[in-house]
């Protein structure tokens, strides 16, 4: 009966029928109370977005899988302390993080949001080393500013890893299906160390040691992961190549005994699954190295399902942690690494499934969903074995990438060559994307653009990439190109809100109020609970100078997701426009609490201090913004202004020169230069600069006004009069009209008698 119930629950979960799943699972737990079953119940709740239920169910449990799920529930309920203790209990400092890569990722996020940047970086790197296709971890590293080059992470070893996974997986599955269960399980166990995932190796390691497997394991395990991979892979591949591979090709490497075993078992395609071919297909897609092997002939069903309910949660989490939902690299690997916390449910199910592996037997679930692959069963749960449902890991992403690869492999036993090309293609793709993303986070926007252009067309024309391109243009202050890129992104994926807040800012800068209000309306109607939509709405009001309503909208965005940095910064901007500097400061500081590298917030703080005439602070903050984004000419020119107010005019001029050379079409630094030169009484230089500006922006009244002022200082009254007149013609603001008219009146009065204009 337990089996039936579990199957029922799994089935319902697969079909996204949460109410049914929860109900049946409760019956299951009542009838057969066990930690595994509680995990399954918690998984059901988590998938149904009821983190609080999962929290209560799993409170106090110790098994790694439960700890992982519990931590996930805490994280979603924003109880970061508890989540942290669950994943890294203080009493066992050396305990392993449950669920490998996914666990590291989750703990990395927790550290990030509690301001422990170094530990966060460490864990993300771990996650990546365990699972090189874990895009979300790489993204977080980029955001924290600690990422290595894309090619380094998504390089050769990663490629090999993936290959191994796929081939290994196939082999394993085959072995699993073998009828000689014992042997198989043993061999499988032995084999597992060969699985490409280091994590697995670790697991296996511990497992095997525990199980005391013995000597050959020792040898196998002692080899480094890659070594094993190679061994394993070659062995595996020989095994795997075709349905009737079982030739005695035990590559002499690695644990011969294992292979021998396998051979002996003669896994034949026919043995594959009792279910027949469907199983094999599933297996192939699954690729997850199974951590634990099913006992006695349990067939692993590798779920061919690439997308399971996990993605929903992943998108939610993605929203929380800010990474894009698009890349689901993690999924591809599926290798056992339990990837991304994005798919907690999946992984959980996986483990649960493994537990219930027993019943798996005989279940031909062609489309077994996710978790299945993972079954591990006899392993004692203390190992973080997880799931992996590789499928689950697949993030639902807008990219067809994984889909493409998986689809092709789905249903087909992946051949060795396919595994190799598939892996290398995948890795190259990820390398490009990763590099592009990293460069963008470092604000080397031109380089990022070049990198993204190397993508094949079908990937370039996806929502995520195009909005990255748009963002790059935005940072380069090429608002027209940014507008173009973003509008294309919207055409391609109108449902995706990622990056739309930046698009609304672009439209704000371009003063396109029609387009902006249309965008805002569309976004809000697509998803009322997305912070990006309300940011766009707020930008719309701000453009019309209705700062109070704009502020309300931005505050709404903050409420919806307090970890969405840009909403805080925009709130800050509105407070400043309303001259409420106290609250503005607070908003900027909260933005910086979420993401220290958000240079807009540093800039905002600098502006407040500039207005409040706290020049030293202003200079400090502008400089910080400059460190983060060293290519923005606007920041450089403000830094120059701040330096000038601190009377360090030479440094100021140097900085301004840099700003001018950084972006030729930006008139601001030129104007600032003229200002500085004027106050240094270098009138000739100032006038030259202003003449240049006159050509660039002939209808800018402030240029003429400043020229008039200079001529007045030089006592060239006719010219001054002329320029003041021109300035007035160009309709300056009311204050300026007053100033200019006053200046005209006092044209013949020497400057010392009046206050500086």
């Amino acid at each position: 009966m337990e089996t039936m119930l579990i199957d029922c629950v799994q089935n319902s979960l697969r079909h996204l029928l949460y109410r049914n799943a929860i109900f049946m699972c409760e019956r299951l737990c009542a009838e057969f109370p066990s930690e595994t079953n509680s995990q399954l119940l918690a998984a059901c709740y988590l998938q149904d977005n009821k983190a609080y239920s999962a929290y209560h169910i799993l409170k106090g449990t110790q098994q790694p899988e439960s700890r992982y799920l519990f931590a996930m529930a805490c994280f979603q309920m924003d109880l970061l302390n508890e989540a942290e203790t669950a994943l890294c209990p203080a009493s066992e400092p050396s305990a392993e993080v449950p669920n490998g890569a996914a666990g590291h990722y989750l703990i990395g996020l927790i550290y990030r949001y509690t301001d422990r940047r170094r530990s966060a970086v460490h864990h993300f790197k771990q996650a990546l080393s365990v699972d090189p296709l874990f895009w979300a971890a790489y993204e977080e590293l980029c955001v924290l500013g600690a990422a290595e080059e894309g090619n380094a992470i998504f390089g050769e070893s990663a490629s090999l890893y993936v290959q191994k996974l796929y081939s290994g997986h196939a082999v394993v599955s085959q072995s699993m299906l073998s009828s000689t269960e014992n042997k198989i399980s043993v061999s499988v166990r032995n084999l597992s160390p060969h699985d490409p995932s280091p994590r697995q190796v670790k697991n296996m390691h511990s497992n095997t040691l525990k199980d005391n497997s013995g000597s050959y394991h020792g040898t196998a395990l002692s080899v480094g992961a890659s070594g094993q991979f190679i061994n394993g892979s070659s062995a595996n591949m020989t095994f795997y190549s075709t349905p009737s591979p079982m030739t005695a090709q035990i590559s002499a490497v690695a644990p011969p005994p294992i292979y021998r075993n396998m051979q002996a078992n003669g896994p034949h395609p026919s043995l594959l699954g009792n279910d027949g071919s469907s199983r094999s297909t599933i297996n192939t897609t699954m690729q997850a190295p199974r951590r634990k092997f099913v006992d006695e002939g349990k067939l692993r069903k590798i779920s061919g399902k690439l997308f399971d309910s996990g993605p929903r949660r992943s998108t939610r989490l993605a929203g929380e942690s800010g990474p894009n939902t698009g890349s689901s690299t993690a999924s591809s690997t599926g290798n056992g690494t339990s990837h991304s916390s994005k798919y907690p449910g999946a992984s959980k199910l996986g483990s649960v499934a493994s537990r219930s592996a027993t019943f798996r037997k005989g279940q031909a679930r062609g489309s077994e969903s996710t978790d299945e692959g993972v079954q591990q069963e006899n392993y004692d749960d203390s190992h973080p074995s997880i799931t992996t449902s590789s499928t689950s890991s697949l993030a639902c992403d807008t990219k067809s990438l994984e889909e493409g690869i998986l689809m092709t492999t789905g249903g087909i036993i992946m051949s060795e060559s396919q595994a190799i090309t598939g892996a290398s293609d995948l890795i190259t793709l990820l390398a490009i994307l990763g590099e592009g993303y990293r460069l963008l986070c470092m604000y080397s926007c031109q380089d990022a653009l070049d990198v993204y252009r190397r993508l094949p067309h079908k990937h370039y024309n996806t929502g995520w990439v195009l909005s990255q391109v748009g963002k790059a243009h935005f940072e380069l202050v090429n608002y027209l190109e940014a507008d173009h890129a973003f509008s294309q992104a919207r055409l391609i994926s109108p449902y995706s809100l990622e990056g739309m807040d930046v698009y609304s800012t672009v439209l704000f800068h371009l003063k396109e109020d029609m387009k902006l209000s249309y965008l805002a309306q569309e976004l809000v109607s697509t998803d009322r609970l997305a912070p990006q939509a309300w940011c766009a709405m707020g930008n719309c009001y701000s453009l019309q100078k209705d700062h109070e309503t704009a502020l309300k909208n931005f505050q709404r965005a903050v409420q919806l997701n307090p970890r969405f940095v840009y909403a805080h910064t925009l709130c800050g901007h509105e407070y400043v426009a309303l001259e409420d500097f106290g609250n503005g400061l607070k908003s900027y500081l909260s933005a910086l609490r979420v993401d220290e590298r958000h240079y807009n917030a540093w800039y905002g703080l600098g502006m407040i201090f500039l207005r409040q005439e706290k020049f030293a602070f202003a200079e400090h903050h502008f400089r910080k913004a400059f460190h983060i984004n060293s290519r923005s000419s606007v920041i450089m020119s403000y830094l120059g202004t701040a330096l000038h107010t601190l009377k360090r005019s030479d440094e100021a001029l140097l900085m301004i020169e840099k700003a001018i050379s950084a972006d030729k079409k930006n008139p601001l630094p030129l104007y600032q230069k003229a200002n500085i030169l004027t106050s240094m009484e270098r009138f000739v230089g100032a006038l030259e600069v202003l003449e240049e500006l006159k050509d660039y922006a002939p209808r800018e009244s402030s240029v003429y006004a400043l020229m008039g002022k200079i001529y007045k200082r030089c006592n060239m009254h006719d010219k001054a009069m002329l320029h003041f007149g021109l300035a007035l013609d160009l309709k300056p603001s009311a204050t300026d009209v007053a100033t200019i008219k006053a200046a005209i009146e006092k044209l013949h009065v020497p400057d010392e008698l009046e206050d500086t204009l």
Binding site: A577, E700, S733, D736, T739
Partner: protein
């Protein structure tokens, strides 16, 4: 609320009020940061009705003339325009007819800067605070006092439905002598 520009009459006699409140975009409402008080009021029709954006509610005074509305700021601000909503058709003898606007540092040194006479106004009445001198486009002051000196038909108490005070927008870029007007400049002038 700001839309196209419109001009109020500069004469001291204002005959009609506008139905629409239309203010230049370069002006913004200043009095949110101010402390408002009145010389006297009837319970239920107090100073809050002057600021609630509701034209149905009004302030009704309850004492001797002149009736005063005091607006005090925490720092010196530049003010350009005062707008009142009064309605002869609804209020008849309660409608103010002579209004004086005074400015200064506090109650002790208010000086009259503007005086207007209304004749059966219905709607928004614009009172500009600028002097004739272009240099005096704004009044730079801590406090503004709006005094109702007399009403239509010699009424004793007065009804005022809404009061708004406008001043110029500050330069979005601090430490710039002049504000930018052209799109090229504005696009590049800030980081958002």
């Amino acid at each position: 609320m700001a839309t196209e520009s419109s001009e109020g009459d500069e004469e001291s006699k204002i005959v009609v009020g506008n139905q629409q409140l239309v203010v230049e975009e370069s002006l913004r409402e200043m009095a949110k940061q101010a402390a408002w008080s009145v010389s006297s009021c009837k319970p239920g029709n107090g100073v809050l009705s002057l600021r609630d954006d509701n034209l149905e509610s009004f302030w009704q005074s309850d004492g001797a003339q002149p009736h005063l509305v005091n607006i005090q700021f925490q720092k010196k601000v530049k003010l350009q325009l005062v707008v009142l909503y009064v309605d002869y058709k609804l209020d008849e003898s309660y409608t103010p007819s002579k209004i004086a606007i005074r400015a200064g540092d506090g109650f002790h040194n208010l000086k009259e800067i503007k005086s207007v006479e209304l004749v059966k106004p219905t709607g928004w009445v614009y009172i500009s605070l600028s002097g004739n001198d272009p240099r005096e486009a704004f009044v730079n002051t801590f406090m503004l006092q709006i005094a109702v000196l007399s009403n239509h038909l010699n009424g004793r108490d007065t009804h005022v439905r809404q009061i708004k005070v406008y001043g110029p927008r500050p330069n979005p870029i601090p430490h710039q002598p002049f504000q930018f007007t052209s799109r090229e400049f504005i696009t590049y002038s800030t980081v958002r």
